[in-house]
Symmetry: C2
């Protein structure tokens, strides 16, 4: 997905939000926004939002000197999700369509996103996602890909959300390779976050090689690109991965909650909608 | 009022919103935002938001080549307000405290602001403002200033809102000097807009000399500054005028609807609140 002009004010909001978590020094924060201002002319609208996100969060790390501002928030989110795991597993096991319920839960987990929002309530959002109708639901294609594939490449998104992904991975009951970000960026899951969520028990964790908040292939490792190329069944979580992969040619099932109007307009749904969308399928 | 870091993403939103009204050329709009990005490092947090607004809307005019993007919207807003005038006058005349009702109506008119928002419904907002409690209401001081002053300086804000100001001016029944912006900036009222609203029939219209979207004294004419200095009773409408005048020493009654969280935090109220606040009184 390309960058829209409306993404630009949002870049400044994101930089400020992350910056405020990294430091309380107002002068440093102003300097951060000034630097982003100077960089803006080098950001073409043809690039994807997570490509710019990558530059922004690098800048946040460099200017504030804090290499992982969201570290503690990630740890807390994962713990909070782990606390919910037993009750969600029960809901999944008792539902008439456990796979679809697991998909809903995995999408509900996508609310744990400090890039798109400053505040959210995981409990409330889970309840909403379990009752909400899908705006797009390519479920039968998803089931068909699942039935015929020997292995699944699952591209994760945020820390904490990982616990909900685990439920879906368990439900699918096939070998899964779970891809995380190489470097901390916003609250996106890295290797350590996935381990804390228990992903290591249900999947093989690999790094996508990127420090972008989304699967921007040009920033991923050759090894990951090769893995993607060989994977018949790919699941990608969240907006950042959708934005990175939507104009690529590979078949991908995107599971996400739509968090901004630009994204909603791009895929023809409403902000807040939940989506299971197959691209290139 | 100083500029807060949170004002910076909002500056980009404002530039884009005004830019989109001035032109549909995406490349030009990107260039506009790039130029704002380059300017950002020269905007100190010590300056007031309308000082920056002045530079932004100048930039919108220069980059898009459109000297008055809001011209037609201003004309329409004023006409819409004029259509409401008879029914609002009736409400005012029939109320138990016509002066307070007139103040409410004048504040309700402050919703007509294309700087703070892209969309609003004048009818709905009027109804809300007539029923809403004031978050701050220095009404007794207002009445006392009104009773003892021979003349009123009334600093206007947006076109259309001017019609609602006219009701308050009529109700106060004292000689009024009504100050407008010198140059078109957003949908702020200029001389022509005030004339269309019928202000010329109830007050003497003067220019404040500024092209900022607020009474930033350093950008106003010496004549206006002198007028302000000599005026015992000053009414200022809207956020921009509050932001420009709040750190000055002159006594001013600010009538406004609080349109953003930053402003709300600054004066200790909630976003959406209506306020009659005397400063330096």
């Amino acid at each position: 997905m390309k960058t829209y002009l409306e993404c630009i004010p949002c870049f400044f909001e994101q930089a400020l939000r992350a910056g405020r978590i990294a430091t309380a020094d107002e002068k440093l924060l102003k300097h951060l926004l000034d630097e982003l201002g100077l960089m803006l002319k080098n950001i073409p609208l043809e690039s994807t939002p997570p490509e710019t996100g990558r530059l922004i969060y690098r800048m946040v790390r460099n200017v504030t000197g804090n290499p992982d501002p969201f570290r503690e928030l990630k740890r807390q989110s994962t713990q909070q999700a782990l606390d919910l795991y037993p009750s969600l597993k029960k809901i999944m096991d008792e539902s008439s369509d456990s796979l679809l319920t697991a998909i809903r839960i995995a999408i509900a987990g996508n609310v744990i996103d400090f890039g798109a929002s400053a505040a959210f309530n995981i409990d409330t959002e889970i309840k909403k996602a379990l009752e909400k109708n899908f705006a797009i639901c390519d479920y039968s294609a998803f089931r068909s890909y699942l039935a015929r594939s020997k292995q699944i490449l699952y591209i994760g998104d945020n820390a904490g959300e990982t616990v909900f992904d685990r439920l879906l991975i368990e439900q699918m009951n096939k070998p899964v390779i779970y891809a995380v970000r190489e470097t901390p960026v916003i609250n996106d899951a890295t290797f350590d976050d996935a381990i804390q969520a228990g992903i290591g028990r249900v999947a093989t964790i690999v790094s996508s090689g990127t420090d972008a908040p989304g699967a921007v292939l040009s920033t991923c490792s050759p090894k990951f690109r090769q893995l993607l190329g060989q994977s018949e069944f790919v699941i990608a979580k969240g907006q950042g991965n959708y934005e990175g992969l939507s104009d690529e040619s590979h078949a991908v099932f995107c599971l996400l909650k739509v968090k901004c109007k630009i994204m909603a307009d791009n895929i023809g749904v409403m902000k807040g909608d939940i989506v299971l969308k197959g691209i290139n399928i």
